[in-house]
């Protein structure tokens, strides 16, 4: 018995070590990204790096402003498309469909998450980009194309987390509202959505994180010109595409500048994650 207890204690220790793998990986990633990226940032000045609009790596001119704005634009565009459609699907799935319909709809929507991002990018190039070029003019490779593709890509994130938070509501909320004579839509608008608000907000923030971080699909449809886009039909380069486009041949300070681009991206994502985490944990707190 004593031997077994000793073994159990050893196993607990081993599992504790294993359990810290995710945290350690996160720490190592942070250390490496900052270690590689920050020296060049501070060498040329943080302000110039973030707010400069000239990106000429061969002349040691590293200004990330067009890419920061570019990432912001396509992410906002993705939100404009992804949020209404995502919420509509979530509401239909939880409130406006029978159990049988839901059993078909849910896996179908989950399938959206499984389609590789290169395939989305490809569909964008062969269908969406020519469509935009012919209908609205411009090169087709544009903020608009990237926004639409990203909007579709973030749907599964928004839908699944919103559905979870709506389903987690006590059934009494719904029953109470319906008992007072409210229609399903009134219940959704006045009871369900306000009550599930923090979960829905978390889903939107995580969707933003996905949109900002997406790389391959954006490279294929955004046009990648280094300039602040003047309209939704103008080409745009995001932080992620900046890294992926030039990583193949970059060396020296140029490569470090790409890591610095990664650092900027990393900081944005971590802020978004923390905010999403805080909103959803506050939700967990209030429910008890």
């Amino acid at each position: 018995m004593n031997r077994l207890e000793k073994k159990d204690r050893l196993i607990r220790l081993a599992l504790l070590v294993v359990a810290f793998s995710a945290v350690s990986i996160l720490v190592v990633i942070t250390v490496f990204m900052f270690g590689q990226g920050t020296p060049v940032m501070f060498k040329y000045g943080l302000g110039k790096f973030l707010a400069g609009s000239d990106w000429y790596p061969s002349e040691k001119s590293f200004g990330l402003w067009p890419m920061i704005v570019g990432s912001l634009y396509v992410t906002l565009g993705a939100m404009v498309i992804g949020v209404p459609f995502g919420l509509a699907c979530a509401i239909v799935l939880t409130e406006f469909s029978s159990r049988r319909v839901r059993r078909i709809l849910k896996p179908v929507i989950e399938l959206l998450a499984g389609i590789p991002s290169v395939v989305y990018g490809f569909i964008g190039v062969v269908i969406l980009v020519p469509f935009i070029r012919e209908t609205f003019g411009g090169p087709g490779l544009s903020v608009l194309a990237a926004s639409v593709i990203l909007g579709i890509m973030i749907l599964p994130t928004i839908i699944s987390i919103s559905v979870d938070s709506i389903e987690a509501l006590p059934p009494a909320y719904r029953a109470g509202s319906v008992a007072l004579g409210a229609t399903t839509w009134q219940t959704v608008r006045m009871v369900i959505l306000p009550a599930a608000r923090s979960g829905i907000i978390a889903s939107i923030i995580l969707g933003m994180g996905r949109a900002i971080g997406e790389t391959m699909a954006v490279i294929m449809v955004a046009g990648n010109a280094v300039s602040v886009p003047g309209s939704v039909l103008a080409p745009v380069r995001t932080l992620t595409s900046n890294i992926a486009l030039e990583m193949g041949y970059a060396a020296g300070e140029h490569r470090q500048a790409l890591f610095a681009t990664g650092v900027v991206l990393f900081v944005i994502i971590m802020v978004l994650n923390t905010v999403a985490n805080l909103t959803s944990s506050r939700r967990r707190g209030t429910r008890r």
Binding site: A19, A22, F85, C89, L105, E110, L111, L112, W185
Partner: protein, 278 residues
């Protein structure tokens, strides 16, 4: 708000359903489009011959092997770590600062974009540790990427095993570890496998993290240290550099079929698991 509530109800329902149908239609369109263009390209030769002339001719055999090798390595590394973490979180501790730190770490890791994993894998495995562009570098990078998924699904699976199973095992004199390995894990297995299959799907479709760590060599990989191109990377290069549209469609169709199979397998397993415990 002067509208009749019943009318608004009907209107809202119609609009929401229309949006949902449109979403599903987009998905169906993507899949049908790729399969219709790609399936005619696929024959036995396409699947069993390696690419010739940068992918203009031949098949995609070496990229299938590369994808399988990378995915297998990633799963082999991430599964013990992920399941171990889940066991620790559910069976060996209670909610405290340590578990909060671990959960926060896993959640943050899940949110990190694949391009950052690619950069990190490149600097750590490819250059610092000197593995070069290789299956090893790519597999390790992918393993880090899928770890959060495996942790989360395993944790949920273990949590859904009824507590009574454990009580019975303890009352029969089983130790904690015996209970975990002989009672809890076997019951949670379908749920854990679901998580692994999901991660396989993610690994197959991944491009950004793989292209800078596993490289893009077209040769058939012979060891952990050979560079290898995956199907997604191959598809990306074919499409972006306009090497061969028909072969790009063919590769995309193989990718989509693989993803469909993965999703169907996940869904069936999950359903069986849910039915068992509810």
């Amino acid at each position: 708000m002067s509208l009749d509530p019943r009318l608004t109800q009907r209107l809202a329902k119609a609009v929401l359903w229309a949006m949902t149908v449109l979403t599903v239609a987009v998905l169906v369109f993507i899949i049908v489009f790729v399969l219709r263009k790609g399936l005619p390209v696929i024959d036995l030769g396409f699947l069993t011959k390696s690419p010739v002339d940068m992918g203009k001719g031949g098949g995609i055999f070496s990229t299938i092997v590369g994808t399988a090798a990378l995915t297998a390595l990633a799963v082999l590394i991430a599964t013990p770590l992920g399941v171990g973490t889940a066991i620790f979180l559910t069976e060996y501790t209670w909610e405290n600062t340590v578990t909060r730190v671990i959960r926060f770490g896993a959640e943050c890791l899940a949110g990190i974009p694949s391009i950052i994993f690619g950069l990190f894998g490149f600097i750590l495995f490819v250059t610092t540790l000197g593995f070069g562009w290789s299956i090893l570098s790519g597999g390790l990078t992918l393993a880090f990427m899928i770890l959060p998924t495996i942790i989360r699904t395993s944790e949920e699976a273990i949590k859904s095993v009824p507590p009574v199973f454990r009580t019975v095992s303890f009352s029969l004199g089983g130790t904690k570890w015996q209970t975990v390995t002989r009672v809890v894990l076997p019951s949670a297995l379908p749920g854990i496998v679901t998580g692994i299959i999901l991660s396989i799907g993610r690994s197959i479709g991944e491009t950004a993290a793989v292209i800078f760590t596993a490289g893009s060599a077209l040769r058939l990989p012979t060891s952990l240290f050979s560079s290898s191109r995956t199907m997604s990377v191959h598809f990306y290069i074919l499409a972006r550099e306009g090497i061969s549209m028909s072969r790009a469609y063919g590769t995309a169709a193989v990718l989509i079929i693989a993803i469909l199979l993965v999703n169907i397998a996940t869904y069936r397993l999950m359903n069986r698991f849910i039915r068992k415990y509810s």
